[in-house]
Symmetry: C2
Subunit: 302 residues, 2 copies
């Protein structure tokens, strides 16, 4: 099958547009759509130091490469990468290596922060000691460390690899669980003191497009799943969306459009409040003590 735009051989069939794309036009389309998302949400302005949250999985690896491609020549934009080593035996060490290799190749400064050094225990140890499930600890500590490190290196933005599939799952999940406030928080409405603003440049790119992009660029990626990952409700939503999109291509874009239509209202209903500094560690929190310190206390680490 030939490309819908030229005579070259197609490498990808884009179901939502009905187009066959050769390598060149696939990459062009991919980058154009990332740029459009970045513009639409004003993710990147002038004089930015962007820290990429780099796990070594396909999304964050592609994100780092894409940001380098888009901004590598810009003198006023500097890229860094932060990898959090949670301490998950067998799963994390190879992805830390991948991240290091990628940053060398892309010539991006790489920072690794570990649960062991910063929290005091590896995730594997935390799970044995605590009563909560792994994701409850990991989610809180990972976000905490990413923000802390991003501030430390003077980053103005923290970029994460969330793709269209992730985002629509979360939006639908919030809708199905009547968690409209959390839906409002999916995109920050303004800068908050102490919090490096998060951006998601791949939020309108399908997961399978990311996989193909990684393959076409021969990027080192890990396709391993975290051994602790277990979110049954999200899995049910993911499976439904997979089948729904399969039958009616483009519906994930429709969900994103619904979300964007509602967003100004959501922000009005749930305005972002000014954050406090945690009384124990100084990190931003809507409460007196931040969640990370609460969990550390629970684990007897402080």
């Amino acid at each position: 099958m030939n490309c819908s735009y030229c005579n070259r051989k197609a490498v990808y069939f884009q179901r939502h547009s009905g187009k066959h794309l050769c390598r060149k036009h696939f990459v062009e389309n991919f980058l154009k759509r990332v740029k459009r998302s970045i513009r639409k949400y004003r993710m990147v302005r002038r004089n930015e130091r962007i820290a990429v949250a780099l796990s070594g999985g396909k999304d964050s690896v592609v994100l780092a490469q894409v940001l380098k491609t888009l901004y590598g020549e810009r003198r006023d934009i500097e890229l860094h990468a932060i990898t959090v080593d949670e301490g998950i035996e067998g799963y994390r060490p190879p992805t830390v290596e991948i991240s290091e290799r990628l940053c060398r190749e892309l010539d991006i400064e790489h920072h690794v922060v570990s649960f062991r050094d910063e929290i005091g225990l590896e995730l594997d140890e935390i799970v044995k000691k605590g009563n909560r499930n792994a994701c409850s600890y990991c989610g809180v500590f990972r976000k905490y460390l990413l923000n802390k490190k991003a501030k430390e290196i003077g980053a103005t933005k923290l970029a994460t690899g969330h793709n269209l599939d992730d985002e629509t799952q979360t939006i639908l999940l919030n809708f199905l669980q009547s968690d409209i406030e959390r839906m409002a928080r999916l995109v920050p409405s303004r800068v908050q003191k102490g919090l490096v603003m998060r951006i998601k440049p791949l939020r309108e790119i399908y997961e399978r497009e990311i996989v193909v992009y990684a393959l076409l660029h021969n990027l080192p990626v890990s396709l391993e799943e975290c051994p602790y990952s277990r979110e049954p409700v999200r899995a049910a939503v993911r499976d439904f969306l997979y089948e729904f999109e399969n039958k009616y291509p483009g519906r994930k874009f429709s969900i994103m459009r619904s979300f964007e239509t509602l967003l100004p209202c959501l922000w009005e209903m749930y305005p972002q409040i000014d954050l406090n500094s945690c009384e124990l560690c100084g990190e931003p929190t809507p409460r007196r003590i931040c969640q990370a310190c609460e969990l550390k206390r629970e684990l007897g680490l402080i």
Copy 2:
């Protein structure tokens, strides 16, 4: 298994509450929740003439009986029923009979309007003549006739049998298809000239509760499906919601809560505009010619 509230035998297990209910407590809970919905949305006020859109299916039959139970003693509230005979061979005649019998039993004045008399053709004939699918004609003409007849008999409200399953399907469908304006229209925000206000007293009652209510009261209902019914996208959403609710009981209520949280915003984004009178028939329409007249014209009926 005994009732969770008394010693009687349970006839129903209410999954979302985890309660077993005997006949008495099932009916009490059912009616209490209908009353709560009516109050919350201010569906019924003083001095009302309520026309029930009575198809003879389980939802509308239960609706008529429930409204009679709740308002039969009220002197300022009068109940009528309107049945639309679309002219669907084999399917409609028995349900018209059921509707007549029910209205005699409940002592409700019954009005039948037919496509044949009012539109000029039966649906079976329309489908043969026109190019659209049956639901496109039927939906428009049915709503048109219900409103026209309701006005004719001086009704102040038009009650339809939509249940929690129907409503959550529509809400989710609108969300998935990025049709937020249609979502805003699911509940009218104000009275519109020429349009009898629609109310949905069963919108927070599960479909299976309606079936059980009908059985317990020995109500005459038709469980036949319309032979023209074919909505594949809705069916996909229905199946997903069925499984999701099955795994996580009560999620349909969560969807309703999400919708209610968003509703004030939705109304603000899409305010109801004043309607015109159709230049051909005088019925309300946002355009110059109403949809029913457009379709009639297409069919060569005017």
